[in-house]
Assembly symmetry: C2
Homo-oligomer: 198 residues x 2
Amino acid sequence: MEFKDIVTRRYATKQFQPRTIPEETIKELLELVRWAPSGLNLQPWRIKVVADAETKALLEPATPDEPQIKSCSHLLVFCVDTDFGAQCERLSRAMKEHGVPERVHDIVMGIATEMSHLPPSEMQAWLQSQVYIAATHALLGATALGLDSCPMTHFLPDKYSRILGLPSHLRAVLLVALGYGADEPHPKWRYPLEEILL
Amino acid sequence: MEFKDIVTRRYATKQFQPRTIPEETIKELLELVRWAPSGLNLQPWRIKVVADAETKALLEPATPDEPQIKSCSHLLVFCVDTDFGAQCERLSRAMKEHGVPERVHDIVMGIATEMSHLPPSEMQAWLQSQVYIAATHALLGATALGLDSCPMTHFLPDKYSRILGLPSHLRAVLLVALGYGADEPHPKWRYPLEEILL
């Protein structure tokens, strides 16, 4: 499928068919997500894949106005890792293991040190934003693999933490419901280019 | 090009050929960006397309360690619109103009009202994150159109505001340099799936 068709076909699916996505398709999709870029190549994301009806039922009241939580085949819960320091240490080790040239390693770690002085709210916004890159790979990748999807940011992250037993340095920031659409997409609209460009 | 190949081929290009992207290709790319999804369909992004050498030279000192600013053909400066209230009013008008069913309009605006009570730092993080969806469309779309690109978050937004004359409610959050790569990509590495999944 051409990228243009992927972008055009994708829509926020509100109702899914009672049909389960094969595990190998989910794996293929996660592989597309895994290769997403991120600032410093930090990859500050963790993903919980929810496929069982019981957990979905628990999450439903923590996701108001989003009934697709229940009808979807799989729900990807995208979490941000909020511990920048620990991730930078891990990044430094991983770059060395992967044979990244020392010069590149040192530039990246220099920027990381500079960034560690960002105000906490800016740092958290930066980390969270990187997770959206991975989630966008999931949305577009799903269409490319013949799946439908729905992104959601309207949910109760504290309840998600409790229900999924997330460690304190992780926080759910975006959900992607996956499956096979059972609804008709609303006609799409966007602002015209002249209202977007400066 | 298959989506998998797009994801695999894209790399952070550090040096571009001295070759200008045709304007119709830039337009095609911006069209792919324009259709990006966002929470509430708010589309809280504005984009400054920088193609002239003079502005690029002015931006270079505000973008340390990123020489690709100078060699790229076009630089997309992705800005977030930080004024949630004004954008919600515009969204309500636009939904009515586009014939969005009243029931859907009211659900969206209800969520918007709820969100308007978010702590300001959370609201700004949410708005900024949406812009990353559009920027990811730009990165993947560029590869699909035979272009190379480099995303950058390491720059001085206040200086960008001054140089580009941005109004106070807009703030540059991410840059995408575009052109035809003149460098060899470093081998890519990412954490294995078992370290990403919860």
